[in-house]
């Protein structure tokens, strides 16, 4: 094709709708720096812009300006770009995420309920053991019951537990008569400050002086580091 034939479709070239073959030809031609064609390409781009500008007027919503400007707000440009470059894809992604988050929320809620149910079932089983003995502690807050069983260990059912600071946990202690407290497991309360906790294992009731609970760092402690919030004396068994 000669210059004129090529220039006849410069508008299509500038629009990006030419087939590969013609496109290649034009690019090769322009690449050779044809003096006549450079202004023609310029005119084609101008005509394209004019045609695109000739569309029915539609007023954008008022909030759009603010959203556009905020895309490049301080420190947000990189993120804004990531967001906007795929805004449509992002909308789909958000929908997808929403569903999967909701799924995950439901799933974790289900898991929590299941764990609660398991604990309650275990507590019932523990209570149902003929050898289980009850130790009452606390008159104010917290209050609850400790159950001990020589074969199955300790069951704690407590309410009104003080809220835990971040990074802290409750730790159960079994305190032998005349001895140092022994760690008997870590547990958390639920949002209402109640807890059901079982420390499984054999327990020598005759040698046990008390069961206690302290607040400890997340990883637990080898020895209590705070004053116990619960002390349930185990006596007379």
């Amino acid at each position: 094709m000669n210059c004129d034939d090529l220039a006849d479709v410069f508008e299509l070239y500038a629009l990006g709708v030419l087939e590969a073959e013609e496109r290649g030809e034009i690019e090769a031609h322009l690449g050779r720096g044809c003096a006549a064609c450079t202004p023609r390409l310029r005119r084609a781009a101008a005509l394209n812009a004019a045609i695109l500008a000739v569309v029915p007027d539609t007023a954008p919503p008022r909030g759009l300006r603010r959203r556009v400007v905020s895309l490049v707000g301080s420190g947000r440009s990189a993120w804004g770009w990531t967001f906007a470059s795929g805004s449509v894809a992002a909308a789909l992604l958000i929908a997808l995420l929403w569903f999967s988050v909701r799924d995950r929320e439901l799933e974790s809620q289900l898991a929590r309920e299941r764990a609660n149910l398991t604990r309650v079932q275990q507590a019932f089983a523990f209570l149902n053991e003929p050898e289980t003995k009850q130790v009452i502690f606390g008159k104010g807050e917290p209050r609850g019951n400790v159950f001990v069983n020589p074969r199955t260990g300790v069951l704690l059912i407590a309410s009104n537990l003080p809220p835990l600071p971040v990074g802290k946990t409750y730790e159960l202690w079994v305190i032998p008569k005349g001895g140092a407290p022994k760690p008997a497991g870590l547990f958390q309360s639920d949002r209402e400050g109640t807890a059901i906790y079982i420390q499984s294992g054999a327990l020598d009731l005759a040698a046990t002086g008390a069961v206690a609970v302290t607040v400890e760092p997340d990883a637990g402690s080898a020895q209590p580091t705070t004053t116990p919030i619960i002390v349930a004396p185990v006596a007379g068994f």
């Binding site: 006849d8 479709v9 508008e11 299509l12 500038a14 629009l15 990006g16 709708v17 030419l18 087939e19 590969a20 496109r23 202004p39 390409l41 310029r42 005119r43 781009a45 101008a46 005509l47 394209n48 812009a49 004019a50 045609i51 695109l52 500008a53 000739v54 569309v55 029915p56 007027d57 539609t58 007023a59 954008p60 919503p61 759009l64 300006r65 959203r67 556009v68 400007v69 895309l71 490049v72 707000g73 301080s74 440009s77 804004g80 770009w81 906007a84 470059s85 805004s87 449509v88 909308a91």
Partner: protein, 202 residues
């Protein structure tokens, strides 16, 4: 379909064609002046929105695509040569291409031209239009010329400009031989060029 795109033309032009002073705006865009983004939107937001709505026919989607358009221009403004021309053609090209890409993604159409679209968004290619070109009387000329085209010729231009179709795609859509479509396209473009010929800077 043909005459529709040219109706309701003039309210837009008053907004769209205030392009004097783009050089200064471009310099501020390049220096990441946030207020330049607002100013660019004030100049071309309505035009970009109108163009995108014309293509995607959904105002909600168009809002997203307008944001995408302006961010793209913002992020690429470093390569804009304010000596060479106005921002308007560039903003228009980016807006059109975002909208067409969106429609294609919906139709799962082969995006055979998507690389090309991206490449042709380079400001160096688009922004070669003299400020004086996009003036109301020039575009009025164009509207008149467009209206005079036979329906088939208007149709092929609409398919190219607003639907991003290649000539073989047009032939398929219009159930016409490729050669016929090519003739319509060339004839239509030639008519428009002739009508506004002197108005376009060389």
């Amino acid at each position: 379909m043909g005459a529709v795109i040219l109706s309701l033309l003039f309210p837009l032009l008053a907004i769209a064609l205030r392009i004097a002073g783009d050089g200064d705006l471009a310099r501020r865009l390049k220096s990441r002046d946030q207020s330049a983004m607002g100013e660019m939107y004030d100049r071309y937001g309505r035009l970009a929105f109108s163009l995108i709505v014309r293509i995607v026919r959904n105002e909600g989607i168009a809002e997203d695509l307008v944001q995408e358009t302006f961010l793209r221009v913002w992020n690429r403004s470093a390569s804009f040569d304010e000596e060479k021309g106005a921002l308007a053609p560039w903003v228009l090209a980016v807006a059109r291409n975002r909208a067409i890409d969106y429609v294609r993604s919906l139709e799962a159409r082969q995006t055979r031209n998507s690389m090309e679209l991206d490449k042709l968004e380079r400001p160096g290619v688009c922004a070669v239009v003299d400020d004086a070109f996009l003036q109301v009387d020039r575009v009025r000329l164009l509207k008149t010329a467009f209206d005079k085209l036979p329906p088939n010729q208007r149709m092929v231009l609409e398919l190219a400009y607003f639907e991003g179709m290649s000539q073989p795609e047009m032939a398929e859509r219009m159930k016409q031989p490729l050669g016929t479509v090519k003739t319509w396209v060339r004839t239509a473009l030639r008519s428009l060029r002739e009508e506004i010929g002197e108005a376009v800077p060389a």
